[in-house]
Amino acid sequence: MAQKASKTPVIRTLTTIAVVLLGLTFFMVSNAAGKKEKHLDDETRQCLRCHAEARYFLKDTVSGDSVIMKMYAELRIDPVNYLKGTHGAFKCTDCHSSDYATVPHPASVKFETDYTCLDCHGGDEAYAAFHFETIDEEYARSVHADSLKENFNCWSCHNPHSYRLNDAKVSITDKVAYDNEMCFNCHGNQVNFEILSGKKLPNLISNHDWLPNQALHFKKVRCIDCHAAQNDSLMVAHLIKPSKEAVRKCVECHSTNSILMSSLYKHSVKEKRNELGFYNGVITNEAYIIGANRNYYLNVASIGMFLLTLLGIIIHSTIRIAKARKNGDK
C-alpha cells in the first residue's frame, strides 16, 4: 500500500504534463491551421464558377437557350492567387455591387465605380506605415497619371484579385520577378499597352540595348529602381518618371553609394560592409555588382602590396643611382 501511495503523485504529475502538452499541441495546430487557411465563401465560389474558367455556360431562363461563352482574360480570376493575395479574405460583394448576384449580370453593373486604394486605406492608422496618401501624391505626379489620366489607376498595376505584399522572406530575385511582371504586363504586351495608351508598343529590348548584360539586369533589378524617383518615406517608389529621366549612369548603382541600397535593398539588413568585408554585403546574398561590392580586406591588402612594391623599387633604384654616381666619380 505504501508503495502504491508513493507512485500515485508521480503518475498524477506525468498525466497532468501529458494533458497540458496535448492541449498545447492541439492549440498550436489549430492556430497554425487557422492562420494558413483562407476559405472561399459560397457567394465567391458561385462567382468563380464562371470567373475562374476560360469558358462559361450561360442559360437564358426565359427561352431556355444555352450558350458556352469565352471568359476574357481581364475578367478571369485565379482562385489560388486570389486566396494568396492581400484581399483574399474578402467576398466579391465586399467590393462589387450585389447586382452581380444576378446572372446574366444586368447592364447597371457596368456603371459601377471601382474603389481606389484610398477609399479603404486612406486615413487608416492600421495602414499608416504604407503611407497611402503619399503614394497617391507620388502617383499623381507620375508619367502614368500625366499621360493616361483616368485610363490609369491603382489596379492597372496592382491586380486587386491577386496582388500580394512581398515580405522579407521572399528572395530579392523573386521580388524583382514579381514587381517587373507588373510592368511587363503592359510594357511587354502589345494588346494591353494599346488598350491603355492607344499607341504601338515600343520595343522594350531594343530601347534597353545600351544596357550591358540586359537579361541579367532585368532579372536582378526592378524596372522602378531606374524608372522611379526614390522617396525615403515609402516602402516602394511610385513616382514613375518619363523614360528620358530614368537612371542611365551605370555608376549610380555600380559604386559603394549604390542607389539600389535605398531602393531594392531598402528593407534588407543594412551594414556598410558585412563580416567578410564586402561593401553593401547584403547584395552579395543574391547578386554581385561591380563597383558596389568590393571587399575591404582585399582593398587594404592590395593597397599594402602596391605600396610595398613601390617602396622596394624606390629603395632599389636609389641605391643603384647612388652606386652608379659613386662609380662615375671614381
Binding site: 548584360n213 633604384s317 652606386k323
Partner: protein, 206 residues
C-alpha cells in the same frame, strides 16, 4: 660593338609584346576605374570603362592564343620551360644578385644568351604569369562577359562574386608583375637598352 648584340626577339614576339603591353595598360586603367567607381570622381566614365575593358580583354585573349601557338611551334617556348631540379638554388642566386650583387658591381649569375634569354627568376615569374595568372584572368574575364553562364551558387557564395574576386585578384597580381617587370627592364646595358631591344629585337649584353 654591333657584333656583341644578340637577336633575341623576333618580329612576332615584339608585335605580341607591344600589343600585350598596351592592352594590359588599358585593362588595368579601366579595371581600376570600374572597381573604385564613384559618381563624384569618375576616373573613366563607367560605360566607357566597361567597353574599353571588354574590347582590350578580347584583343588580349587573341594575343594569348598567338603567344601560345608561337611558343608551341617555335623555339621561343623553351625559355618558359622550368626545370624543377636546382630551381630553388638558382632562384636564390638570382635574387641575391638583385638584392646585393648588383650594387657591388658583380657580374650577373645567369648572363643572357641565345639559349637562355631569361634568368631563372624571370623564367619563373614569366611562366607563372603567362601559364597561370593570365589564363585565370581570361577564363574568369570571359565568364564575366557572359555572366548568365556562371553557376548561380557555389557552397552558399554567389558564382559571379567568386568569379569576380578571382578575376580582380589575378588582375591585380598581373598589374604588380607589370610594374616590377618595367622596373627590372631598366637593369641592362643602360636603363633604356632593354626597352630598345623590344623595338629592334637586339639585346645589348649587360
Amino acid at each position: 660593338m654591333e657584333t656583341n648584340k644578340l637577336y633575341l626577339y623576333p618580329v612576332w614576339v615584339r608585335l605580341w609584346h607591344i600589343t600585350n603591353a598596351l592592352m594590359c595598360l588599358a585593362l588595368i586603367l579601366s579595371g581600376v576605374s570600374m572597381q573604385y567607381s564613384n559618381p563624384e570622381f569618375p576616373f573613366i566614365r563607367f560605360d566607357i570603362a566597361v567597353s574599353m575593358h571588354n574590347i582590350s580583354g578580347i584583343i588580349l585573349s587573341a594575343m594569348y592564343v598567338m603567344f601560345f601557338v608561337g611558343n608551341w611551334s617555335t623555339s621561343n617556348g623553351k625559355h618558359y620551360r622550368i626545370r624543377i631540379r636546382g630551381l630553388l638554388n638558382s632562384l636564390i642566386k638570382q635574387a641575391r644578385y638583385y638584392a646585393f650583387g648588383i650594387f657591388k658591381g658583380e657580374k650577373p649569375p645567369f648572363p643572357v644568351s641565345k639559349e637562355m634569354k631569361f634568368n631563372p627568376l624571370q623564367k619563373f615569374t614569366y611562366a607563372l604569369t603567362m601559364y597561370f595568372f593570365v589564363p585565370l584572368v581570361f577564363i574568369t574575364g570571359w565568364a564575366l562577359l557572359f555572366p548568365g553562364m556562371i553557376i548561380t551558387n557555389v557552397f552558399g557564395f554567389g558564382g559571379i562574386q567568386i568569379t569576380s574576386l578571382l578575376h580582380v585578384t589575378a588582375g591585380f597580381l598581373i598589374s604588380l608583375f607589370l610594374i616590377i617587370h618595367i622596373y627590372f627592364c631598366t637593369i641592362g646595358h643602360s636603363p633604356s637598352s632593354n626597352f630598345k631591344s623590344m623595338i629592334n629585337g637586339y639585346h645589348e649584353p649587360h
